[in-house]
């Protein structure tokens, strides 16, 4: 069984919700990423979303844009990120890792090559922000071959007919974008999120994750009540941004914020 499916099955059995942290691979430097992934797992991560830095992160706010710039200062490539996943797997064989990024680095590596290398590296899936289901057929074929999950976004603006299409194409889980905006935007409206999740749940058995606007224990707990997974990005990336040259402080800050959210979600 793919690690993502296993993870959600286990959580369901224990009555818990998934906590999914996002960090950008190579931020603040490539040598630190695997250590930070372990830190996230130790402080309560169920799945890790690992960002692939891109020069033109169109769907991201300033925080993750800057994370990309820091990672790209070290020329962190998609191949480097997959190598990090491979290293992570040497000591962690259970926590699912899902890449999140933009299509162009995948295009230039080649879909087949990417799927094969990803699978060999111990990756479990990917979310390609600028690849909607309509453009995903070829990559989806290779992903299926290698038992990799292709995660899609769902938005407040997604009409019902599209939502059905996305549910049919998605695997692993669905990522519901809680607000119209870029990553790191304003606070989410929990009633609105719940209404949309109810609408989606009627169409699919896939676990529903919610991201955008979750920044602390309180928002994480509120989202955990209505969703299957809580996805946190910019709030964690800010811990890295503010302590770029102090790896130990980064780990402490990440750990503290993760623990706060985990505790609030499980309470």
């Amino acid at each position: 069984m793919n690690r993502v499916d296993q993870c959600f099955a286990d959580l369901k059995a224990s009555g818990k919700k998934a906590l999914i942290p996002f960090i950008t691979g190579g931020d603040p430097k490539p040598g630190l990423t695997v250590e930070l992934m372990h830190t996230l797992v130790e402080s309560g991560a169920d799945i890790i979303e690992l960002g692939v830095p891109f020069s033109d992160p169109m769907a991201d706010g300033p925080t993750i844009q800057l994370a990309c710039e820091r990672a790209l200062r070290h020329n962190t490539s998609l191949r480097d990120i997959l190598a990090m996943v491979k290293t992570f797997r040497e000591t962690n064989t259970t926590t699912p890792v899902v890449l999140m990024g933009y299509l162009n680095p995948v295009e230039i590596m080649g879909y087949e090559n990417f799927a094969k290398t990803a699978s060999e590296s111990g990756l479990d899936g990917a979310l390609v922000v600028d690849m909607p289901p309509e453009e995903s057929e070829v990559l989806a074929g290779y992903f299926k071959q290698h038992d990799l999950k292709l995660v899609f976004l769902m938005a407040p603006t997604t009409p019902d007919a599209r939502a059905t299409t996305i549910c049919e194409h998605g695997s692993g889980y669905l990522y519901y974008v809680s607000v119209k905006g870029v990553t790191g935007s304003a606070a989410l409206d929990i009633d609105d999120v719940k209404a949309n999740l109810d609408r989606i749940r009627a169409k699919t058995q896939l676990p529903l994750g919610v991201g955008f606007g979750i920044k602390d224990g309180k928002t994480a707990a509120a989202v955990a009540k209505v969703a299957d997974a809580v996805i946190v990005g910019s709030a964690l990336v800010r811990c890295i941004e503010e302590n770029e040259n102090e790896p130990d402080v980064i780990k402490q800050r990440l750990s503290a914020l993760m623990t706060e959210m985990r505790t609030a979600m499980d309470a």
Binding site: P105, I108, E134, L153
Partner: protein, 410 residues
């Protein structure tokens, strides 16, 4: 000139592109985050309906005639022809349009679409500022609130246009992320749009972006090529032997080329920004030197590194300083219907001075690239041959840049 066997290609079918999903062969498409997908679906549907609606066409044609001042003249540049020493060179005078460039052909059309959607706000990205000015202009006329995103580098080198936009009531937002040029302005416009998609219409100025934009922009700009055909018949009794246009994102070029696609006797040349020369990386010539990839919502030729990161570009002209290009150009390159070439900064500047001095027409630095190549091309052709160059904009906005390069402070 082409290496492809044109007899194998059904050019009529080429003119029917994009297909329903917005593809020109492998290029184009719709690569955006989910939040924007439904707005793009709505826009596609609206345009499909209105483009068949005689009332909409009538309104658009009226505005082009009475607000823009179309048709723009096709002018025989006698002294330029003499200097080049070969084929006759005609200039399609898009510089004489209201606001001084071809950009307004498209903003008139898209602003009409915006009016039909009822959205009260429009946004635009701009490089040289011509599209920003053209958007601010139609927004002023229709009473729409207008925000223009512009790379901080371009805000600096196109001060005149920045002030023009502000006078027209637009808010100009300098974008400092990335390379602070046109590509970053487009990123920021997309980010703004995703956040404000309910009440905001995005007027894209170049023939790139997610479907249906490349088609919209092409259709609205095609008036250039249609008029050129008619005017060439009036002047010469036949179609030109070659048409030449500069290519950044490629809106003026596709407007000139599209109506000629099926006319196989007409050779077409798209001139990219050669910057400091194609042998290095300091240029903006993705069709000449780039590889296919995905950026800004479409698959197309890009300037990118071996890891798929978009490269910084260089051109003396802000309007050509872009690492991508419209997807239809990528397709026309692959099938060999259009020849894509480049002119360097120096060649463009020389053409700027030449046209100004011997014809009394000051071209935009973007258009100067097309002039530079056309002069070279003309020299290789017989005197009874005819070349039409799309003079896409006027050069007033570039006076500071040119003066600076000449070491003159204004």
């Amino acid at each position: 000139m082409s290496t492809t066997d044109k007899t194998a290609i059904d050019l009529k079918a080429v003119t029917m592109l994009p297909n329903k999903t917005g593809h020109f062969g492998p290029y184009g498409g719709r690569f955006v985050s989910e939040t924007l997908m439904s707005a793009l679906d709505d826009l596609t549907e609206l345009y499909d309906r209105l483009s068949q609606d005689p009332e909409f066409q009538k309104e658009y044609d009226y505005d082009l005639a009475h607000y823009v001042g179309r048709p723009s003249p096709l002018y025989f540049a006698e002294r330029l022809t003499e200097k080049a020493g070969g084929a006759k060179i005609y200039l399609k005078r898009e510089d004489l349009n209201h606001t001084g460039a071809h950009k307004v052909n498209n903003t008139i059309g898209q602003a009409l679409l915006a009016k039909y959607t009822g959205k009260p706000k429009v946004i635009a990205e701009t490089g040289a500022g011509q599209h920003g000015v053209a958007t601010a202009t139609v927004a002023a006329r229709l009473g729409l609130q207008c925000t223009v995103f512009m790379g901080a580098t371009d805000v600096e080198r196109q001060k005149l246009n920045v002030y023009r936009m502000r006078l027209l009531g637009a808010e100009v937002i300098p974008v400092t992320s990335g390379t602070a040029t046109l590509k970053d302005a487009m990123n920021e416009a997309m980010r703004h749009w995703v956040t404000n998609v309910d009440d905001t219409f995005y007027i894209i100025g170049t023939a790139a972006g997610p479907h249906p934009y490349p088609k919209l922009v092409r259709d609205f700009q095609s008036i250039i090529g249609r008029e050129t055909k008619r005017q060439s018949m009036e002047h010469e009794g036949r179609l030109p032997d070659a048409v030449v246009a500069c290519v950044g994102g490629g809106s003026n070029a596709i407007g000139m080329f599209y109506p000629f696609i099926e006319d196989e006797s007409v050779a077409m040349y798209g001139v990219e920004a050669g910057g400091h020369g194609l042998e290095g990386d300091d240029h903006a010539a993705p069709l000449c030197k780039g590889k296919p990839g995905v950026l800004h919502g479409n698959r197309t030729y890009l300037m990118e590194d071996e890891n798929g990161q978009i490269m910084g570009t260089h051109s003396v002209s802000a309007g050509l300083d872009y690492p991508g290009v419209g997807p239809e150009h990528s397709y026309l390159k692959d099938i060999g219907r259009v020849n894509y070439v480049a002119a360097t900064d120096d060649e463009a500047l020389e053409a700027f001075h030449t046209l100004t001095e011997i014809e009394g027409i000051m071209p935009a630095l973007e258009s100067s690239h097309a002039i530079a190549y056309a002069m070279k091309l003309a020299a290789t052709m017989d005197k009874d041959k005819v070349i039409v160059v799309n003079l896409s904009g006027r050069g007033d906005k570039d006076i500071h840049t040119v003066a600076g390069l000449d070491g003159i402070e204004i």
